[in-house]
């Protein structure tokens, strides 16, 4: 595919993910943006445009929160806009930034993703109530977790997957996160811990779910010429893809995220990837719930439908396995400040592909990787393919 300008990631930064930050959302956004600038010795004056990703206003508790956050995000008197595609926002944010640079209109774009969920009471889950149809679903008293439970149950039923195999994902990711300096919950858990945790909405138990967090992440994008002046090791965004399915989620078979597959095909096509199972060295699929990692590995066409639990059981997806999955520790381990968590996956690709992931570094000099997020009513897939 012809792309006007090749786009690179040249810098990245992230705050620590915490349950309750004293910092305001603006201050969190600043911390991540400042780190990203420092990571590549850039000044804010070198930034030509700013793209923000943030999930619903109801978390931070500020209507049009993109406007509220803009000074912290470094957007003073700059072209600045906010994208929102539900939980898919974090990985869509660099795609949103990519438009700016790939179009040739701007040579640089600062991408910031922020979430301050602790402002929302009694629990951020309550803010999800209006994701359900106000006329024909909300009167039934649904909780957000229901849709995950319904999807998980369908997935388990279709492929006859035992709960133990799914819980293994949470064990792996929480262990991986022990090596992440920004992790909210740096605590290893056993398979038994997960299976013994409180049943919220079967098959979903408390430890199947990523923890609610506050945090922010930022990356800096640059066009090829500019990127090569900034750094010797740019990481290229060679494929972007996104796809939305119908909002009538009860009219679909939930066992397979076909919208993720469509988004992946778009991104792989752009990046010239014909055989993702062979050509992708590691992946950061979206894992707000443990089964979601498996679901999304299949959606990303990294294995056959129903095969992801088996690969996990065989250790293939461990950090030292043949296809490391969520070496960062993912949302399950590092934490889940919605949009920031998605962008954290893109940061991880950046650090891993530059060999800068420290104790988390996957072996074998990875060259190509994919990050993905998911959102809305089991509806959108957002995919980015990056190369060293």
């Amino acid at each position: 595919m012809f792309v006007k300008k090749r786009v690179a990631v040249v810098g990245a930064g992230m705050t620590k993910f915490v349950r309750r930050a004293q910092e305001t959302g603006k201050e969190l956004a600043f911390e991540s943006a400042r780190q990203a600038l420092d990571s590549c010795n850039m000044r804010i004056q070198d930034i030509e445009s700013v793209a923000l990703g943030s999930a619903p206003d109801a978390f931070d508790g500020v209507h049009m929160k993109g406007e509220y956050l803009l000074d912290g995000a470094g957007a003073w008197r700059k072209p600045y806009s906010r994208n929102f595609v539900g939980g898919g926002t974090g990985v869509f944010s660099p795609i949103h930034g990519w438009f700016h640079v790939a179009s040739g209109l701007y040579d640089t774009c600062l991408v910031v993703a922020e979430e301050k969920m602790s402002s929302c009471l009694p629990h951020p889950q309550t803010a999800f109530l209006t994701i359900f149809d106000n006329m024909i679903e909300r009167p039934l008293g649904p909780n957000l977790i229901w849709i995950f439970a319904l999807e998980m149950q369908r997935y388990m039923h279709r492929h006859n997957i035992p709960k133990e195999q799914i819980a293994q994902v949470a064990v792996k990711n929480k262990r991986n996160a022990l090596d992440h300096p920004s992790a909210q919950i740096a605590k290893a858990v056993t398979l038994q811990d997960i299976l013994d945790s409180e049943v919220l909405a079967w098959p979903v138990q408390r430890l199947d779910i990523s923890p609610v967090s506050d945090g922010a992440c930022a990356v800096i994008l640059a066009s090829e010429d500019v990127a090569r002046r900034i750094t010797d090791s740019p990481v290229w965004i060679d494929g972007v893809g996104w796809n939305l399915d119908t909002a009538y989620w009860t009219n679909r078979d939930l066992y397979f995220p076909r919208y993720v597959a469509n988004a992946a095909r778009m991104a792989y096509g752009m990046a010239g990837i014909s055989n993702p199972r062979k050509q992708i060295d590691f992946a950061e699929p979206y894992d707000p719930f443990d089964y979601k990692e498996l679901h999304h590995m299949e959606g990303l066409l990294l294995c056959r439908k129903g095969e992801a639990p088996k690969l996990t059981a065989e250790g293939v997806t461990e950090r030292d396995g043949k296809l490391p999955i969520c070496p960062s520790g993912g949302l399950l381990g590092v934490g889940n400040p919605i949009a920031a968590a998605g962008l954290m996956k893109v940061c991880e690709l950046f650090w891993q592909l530059r060999g800068e992931a420290g104790k988390r570094q996957v072996a074998g000099d990875p060259r190509t990787a994919v990050a993905q997020a998911w959102g809305d009513l089991m509806q959108i897939g957002t995919v980015v393919v990056m190369r060293a």
């Binding site: 930050a21 004293q22 910092e23 305001t24 603006k26 201050e27 600043f30 943006a33 400042r34 600038l37 000044r43 804010i44 004056q45 109801a58 508790g61 000074d71 912290g72 470094g74 003073w76 602790s118 402002s119 929302c120 009471l121 009694p122 309550t126 803010a127 109530l129 209006t130 106000n134 006329m135 909300r138 009167p139």
Partner: protein
């Protein structure tokens, strides 16, 4: 939620919020509460003293760590006389509100004014008495014209 005759479903958003003032805001509000003083955060690079203070300069994105005290007499930059409250109901009495700028500060304060003012008037910040302050912007009672 219930159905009305026009086939409308009535409802709300059943959440509420608790906001932190943030690192700079905490310091600002505590200074008002404890000392009855306004402080601004200084950006030496841009030579700006941000009021209310911030931990960053929005222009150069430097981290700000120095604070300076700002005197409590300023100038009305603009004002309005607001008739309604935040819910859209009429206020018992119209409220005069002003944006006040202070010498040596970048920014200013938006607050209620006691009595009438015009653009360009000098006003003083009047704080609540110390025992009644809670660490809120409402620890400032109002602006009052300097005569």
């Amino acid at each position: 939620m219930h159905m009305s005759s026009e086939l409308k479903v009535e409802g709300d958003f059943p959440v509420h919020f608790r906001y932190t003032a943030g690192l700079a805001g905490e310091r600002f509000l505590r200074e008002i509460k404890d000392k009855g003083e306004l402080i601004a955060a200084r950006c030496p690079k841009c030579d700006l003293n941000y009021l209310p203070p911030r931990i960053y300069c929005e222009r150069c994105m430097s981290k700000l760590e120095d604070y300076v005290t700002i005197g409590n007499i300023g100038t009305v930059d603009t004002f309005t006389v607001c008739k309604q409250d935040s819910d859209g109901k009429d206020l018992p009495l119209p409220a005069t509100v002003a944006l006040v700028k202070f010498p040596s500060a970048h920014g200013g304060l938006v607050h209620k004014v006691k009595g009438e003012v015009a653009i360009g008037d000098k006003v003083r910040v009047v704080f609540k008495e110390k025992s009644k302050r809670t660490g809120s912007i409402l620890d400032i009672e109002y602006f009052e014209k300097v005569t």
